[in-house]
Amino acid sequence: MKTQLNMDKIAKGLGAERQGRVAATGGYFGAMQLLAAIEARFRVPSGGGRPTDPAWTERRLLPLAPRTLKKLEEIAAKIREHGGANLEPMQLAALLIEKTTEKLSEEDAENLVRPKRRASR
């Protein structure tokens, strides 16, 4: 029977942050594969701080409604709780922008900015 490890207890006991799941296997090749995966996925910027996507080189201020920020904070906290990546609310916002932008057509964008018609009686 497989015993579940209490990863939160382990993180607390180590004084560590849970970063996410990896496929760890034994032996030399397992060790090398794991190292390559971790260096690619969780590499820390040389200036310190949290691991981030190396492609995110542009920085802009993003105005947000407090309720949107609250929602982002809640979702990021849930992801951390469930052992996903150690995600900050604004990293989640960046991910959402990136994913949505990839799928967004010109028409979708136009619909977003076009004033909504009020329903007439």
Partner: protein, 138 residues
């Protein structure tokens, strides 16, 4: 007649005290400081890590150095070379969740992070990656 297989001595005792050593703990011992240039005394840290794993969890294996390189986009695409040593330790679910063992392992990682001037010490337990970035003493 089929003979009954005998359990090796101590198996039952081991099962009662936390099960088989099937949880893989992986520690990465860096070769350079956070600046990516200044070398650290890696041999010393590998020996110290093996000693700690031996004392706390009963043993470990250090693999030969891996050579790695990555482009630091935040420092003008400079190539940072690293040759980390990967240490594998198999332990029991009970031992890895034991408060004392976790405290010893955490203390070692913080000491290495502090003295070898790292941005982060990476540790894998089971199928999860943990990062230690706060190297303050207790």
């Amino acid at each position: 007649m089929v003979k009954k297989r005998r359990r090796p001595a101590g198996t039952r005792q081991r099962a009662l005290t936390g099960g088989r050593k099937r949880v893989l703990v992986v520690l990465f011992v860096p070769s350079v400081e956070r600046d990516g240039k200044t070398p650290v005394d890696q041999a010393r840290w590998v020996d110290a890590a093996l000693e700690m794993f031996g004392r706390v969890f009963g043993g470990a294996t250090a693999y030969p150095k891996a050579k790695g390189v990555w482009r630091d986009d935040e420092r003008g695409d400079v190539l940072v070379k690293d040759e980390p040593v990967v240490i594998h330790c198999y332990t029991t679910p009970a031992d890895i969740q034991d408060d004392r063992s976790l405290a010893d392992l955490g203390a070692f990682c913080r000491k290495m992070g502090r003295e070898a001037r790292q941005g982060e010490i990476g540790l894998v337990v089971g199928d999860e990656y943990f990062a230690i970035r706060d190297f303050g003493e207790e």
